[in-house]
């Protein structure tokens, strides 16, 4: 069977004709397989949804219990047949519950990676490379300039800054699902045991992470009574990035604007957003991890999707691997 007959793009998303299902569709469909809970991948309104237990729970938290007509839990590593096509979910190391999806039919193996990263993350299972014929890789940071430094160094800078500027609140922008909990967990691992203040948008998901066994230490709501501005002096406050450009941010004393994202690698990006303390912490693979992963899967063909396709396609060509961009629409990269 030719790979593109097994999976190919449609306006709704990546479609499998023999299995009659979509992977991470951006519009409501009859049957959806979902890699992870970020809103650009996991949408509500599908008739049937198959995903890992954690991803299903995250979707329920975000969209309400009735986010889909029916749901089916995919256990990691378990092979499930969908209309005769074998599918299985494998850890992607991106956020809690995230998975790659292996689609297998008539001797053709395709892995759709979803979003993934390779370095250790104390808040989710590590990525496992799956051998395949075609590897569909994300390319959010698919340029050689993106090489994420060790996250411990980034967190150490944050903690140092709170000691250097004890009178200022440190506002850390981090996406609500995954990044926020990872940053908090890394701050804890660095020995910081003061309370961490969180924006309301983080509360439900952080509680869920705690229930799933990711200890986050003492979290307090970043709300305040009238006139107690001093309380946040020197404190770490974590919230969704959008909140920091908002009126919400005005309650903090002379804040240090920080942002945890792979995009912070580029100085101009940090400058444009008014970020004073960029933290290069990403839930996506950097360039080195992308090319290492492509090599490890042993895939003879690579399809590159959402991100900067051209550089990765070029790298594959130089290294004798067939590659093409796969134009999928609607992925906005909520997760970094």
């Amino acid at each position: 069977m030719r790979a593109k007959d097994l999976l190919h793009p449609r306006p709704e998303g990546l479609y499998c004709p023999p299995g009659d299902f979509f992977i991470d569709p951006v519009r409501p469909v009859d049957r959806a397989l979902i890699t992870h809970g970020h809103s650009d991948h996991a949408r509500s309104g599908h008739a049937h949804v198959m995903a890992t237990d954690q991803t299903l729970q995250i979707m329920a938290l975000r969209y309400g219990e009735n986010f889909a007509g029916a749901t089916q839990v995919a256990k990691l590593g378990e092979v499930i047949e969908v209309n005769g096509v074998k599918v299985s979910f494998h850890p992607a190391g991106h956020v809690l519950g995230s998975a790659q999806i292996l689609v297998e039919h008539k001797d053709c193996r395709i892995v759709a990676s979803g979003d993934y990263k390779r370095r250790a993350d104390p808040t989710c299972l590590s990525f496992t490379p799956i051998s395949c014929d075609v590897f569909i890789t994300e390319a959010t940071f698919g340029l050689p300039v993106f090489r994420h430094p060790p996250d411990t160094e980034e967190v150490a800078r944050l903690i140092k800054s709170t000691e250097q500027f004890p009178e200022r609140a440190h506002l850390v922008g981090a996406y609500a699902l995954g990044k926020a909990q990872r940053v908090i967990r890394l701050v804890r691992d660095a020995g910081y045991d003061r309370p961490i203040y969180i924006h309301g948008a983080l509360a439900k998901l952080s509680r869920f992470y705690e229930e799933q066994g990711v200890a986050l230490g003492e979290l307090l709501p970043a709300t305040l009574e009238k006139g107690n501005k001093g309380d946040f002096a020197g404190a770490i406050v974590v919230g969704p990035p959008s909140a920091f450009a908002d009126r919400w941010a005005r309650r903090f004393p002379d804040p240090v604007a920080s942002f945890a994202s792979g995009w912070m690698r580029i100085r101009q990006r940090a400058k444009q957003r008014g970020v004073e303390l960029p933290l290069i912490i990403s839930d996506h693979s950097d360039w080195d991890e992308l090319i290492e992963t492509i090599a490890e899967t042993g895939a003879s063909e690579v399809w590159v999707t959402h991100g900067r396709e051209e550089a990765l396609v070029r790298w594959c060509e130089i290294n004798g691997i067939r590659a093409q961009p796969l134009h999928l629409v609607g992925y906005e990269d909520e997760g970094d």
Binding site: P255, R267, E276, L277, R314
Partner: protein, 535 residues
């Protein structure tokens, strides 16, 4: 190197002066000699390293990486130094250094490398750096220009903070120092003598004035004060001693190099304080706009010197020969100055005249109606005051003419930094131009202060409610004849500018009033600003 790299990274993104000072002071405290002194020299521009050209850097990169992938990378990042620092490949593990070199090791390698060796030495240093930040700092050192928004003055303030001394003390010893400033740090940390001033044409910290505020003059006797025009040029100090001649800016930077025409006329042993100005075509005093032709240049062509000859309008004499005149009262210094200046080339040095006046009302009238566009008010100097460094209140007052104002329409707003990062606080405003019946707005300036916190909130809300487009941190605000916010903008003067579409550049614009009441169609036209240019 890692600490220096981190310092650069943080400085470039830290908007507030206080934040920068804290970062610098902490760095100087935590870093050992000679690294901290080299960092200081790099920041103040006193570190000499043979430059590596951008083309060389690109060539080094293309030896190590597919040129197409490098082009994608460079195009994306924009800045060559940053792009190279990010993509530079880690060397094979057996070639890897076991640690990033220190700043002094980097500087020494670069300084001892011959010009032809430069690129190879640079490549070796980049191989040994463990982080992109360290590589970026190394490349910035060899390509020149750190561009971190830290002036020499700010660095000196950080040193003063480190040692708990006044910044003027640092200024005074500065010219006797050399890289890496071991004796300076020893003194500031309390385990060394204060460095000696080198006895040659040193800078003297300048005396500054305070503005006249409400009721300041009521208690003062007019006859205790002399009045002079306040010249809107560049405050300078000319010092000549034993054949060494220097022209200093008010912060003590040596700017002699850009004014050889003036320096040739320095044929005396003295220190004088005055205002740098240019002559206009008729030999009179040119405007600030003319003076700008001579500013911010390291070197100057014969043509520019001929078209815009500079001179100093002198108002004080600090030293004559061996004698320090600063302890003398102004009255005495003035007499000595009048005698002294009569010997100098009158084309290059003239005397700032005294302004006759009867009482404070008379002074008030005069400062409001200055007789020349390059006059921005009057100075009042107490006859009995010695020349004192710093800004004491009482001996010298400045009383400026009222600022110019224009009614302009808010066009774009940009988010601020630091405390203001959640507010749209930087405003681009424009005035009408084109046909009366169908005019359009042309931007004439940008202002980010002058309003109260309460007004900031109101404007912020206005911006959010009237956004018609957004790009990055900037919002385009509705501004047409029917709808728009009129800002009364105060400014100190105008200069012609080829860089701005309007053809003018405003000096020191700030919002003086919000004109919620004024329909945008009634804001000013460009012609009314242009008429100020020709005054």
């Amino acid at each position: 190197m890692n600490r220096f790299a981190e310092l650069l990274d943080r400085l470039v993104l830290t908007p507030s002066r206080l934040g920068k000072l804290k970062l610098l002071t902490d760095y100087f405290r935590e870093t050992e000699d000679p690294d901290r002194g080299l960092a200081l020299a790099a920041i103040t521009g006193d570190l000499t390293i043979n430059a590596v050209k951008p083309a060389m850097l690109r060539a080094l990169m293309e030896e190590r990486m597919d040129p197409v992938l490098f082009r994608y990378s460079h195009d994306y990042v924009g800045d060559l130094a940053e792009a190279v620092s990010l993509v530079w490949p880690a060397p094979e593990s057996h070639l890897r250094a076991n640690r990033t070199p220190t700043l002094s090791e980097v500087v020494e390698s670069l300084q001892t490398a011959s010009r032809s060796d430069g690129p190879r030495v640079l490549a070796r240093l980049l191989d040994s750096a463990e982080s992109a930040s360290a590589r970026f700092a190394i490349i910035k050192l060899v390509t020149g220009g750190l561009r971190i928004g830290v002036s020499a003055r700010l660095a000196k303030q950080a040193l003063a903070d480190l040692g708990g001394v006044d910044v003027n003390e640092v200024e005074e010893v500065w010219h006797g120092l050399s890289v890496p400033y071991l004796n300076l740090f020893a003194w500031l940390e309390g385990h060394g003598e204060k460095p000696e001033r080198k006895p040659e044409a040193l800078f003297r910290s300048v005396m500054l004035s305070t503005p006249v505020e409400n009721n300041d003059l009521e208690r003062l006797e007019p006859e205790h004060y002399a009045a002079e025009w306040k010249w809107d040029g560049i405050r300078v100090q000319v010092v000549a001693e034993n054949g060494i001649k220097r022209l200093y800016s008010r912060t003590g930077d040596d700017v002699s190099g850009a004014f050889p025409d003036l320096m040739d006329a320095v044929q005396f042993d003295a220190a004088i304080d005055g205002e740098l100005l240019v002559h206009d075509k008729k030999g009179g005093t040119g405007t600030f706009s003319d003076l700008q032709q001579r500013l911010n240049r390291k070197t100057v062509s014969a043509k520019v010197m001929e078209d815009y000859p500079v001179f100093v309008r002198v108002y004080d004499l600090l030293q004559e020969g061996e004698e320090d005149l600063r302890p003398l009262p102004f009255e005495e210094r003035r007499k000595r100055l009048e005698r002294f200046i009569s010997e100098l080339d009158p084309f290059r040095f003239d005397l700032s005249p005294l302004v006759e006046f009867s009482d404070w009302h008379d002074v008030d009238d005069k400062r409001k109606r200055p007789p020349h566009p390059v006059i921005e008010g009057v100075m009042l100097k107490r006859w009995s005051a010695p020349y004192m460094a710093g800004r004491a209140k009482g001996p010298w007052f400045k009383w400026k003419r009222d600022p110019y104002t224009v009614d302009a329409v808010l066009m774009y707003a940009q988010r601020g930094h630091g405390k203001r990062s959640s507010f749209y606080s930087d405003y681009t405003f424009g005035v009408w131009t084109g046909p009366e019946e169908n005019p359009e707005l042309v931007p004439v300036g940008k202002a980010y202060f002058g309003f109260t916190d309460a007004e900031l909130k109101q404007i912020d809300k206005y911006v959010r409610d009237h956004t018609i487009d957004r790009f990055g941190p900037v919002r385009s605000v509705r501004a047409d004849r029917q709808s728009g916010l009129v800002l009364e903008v105060a400014f100190e003067g105008l200069a012609r500018s080829t860089r701005h579409k309007s053809g003018i550049a405003m000096r020191f614009p700030r919002v003086s009033r919000l004109r919620w009441d004024k329909p945008p169609a009634e804001a000013d036209r460009l012609e009314s600003l242009e008429s100020l240019l020709d005054r």
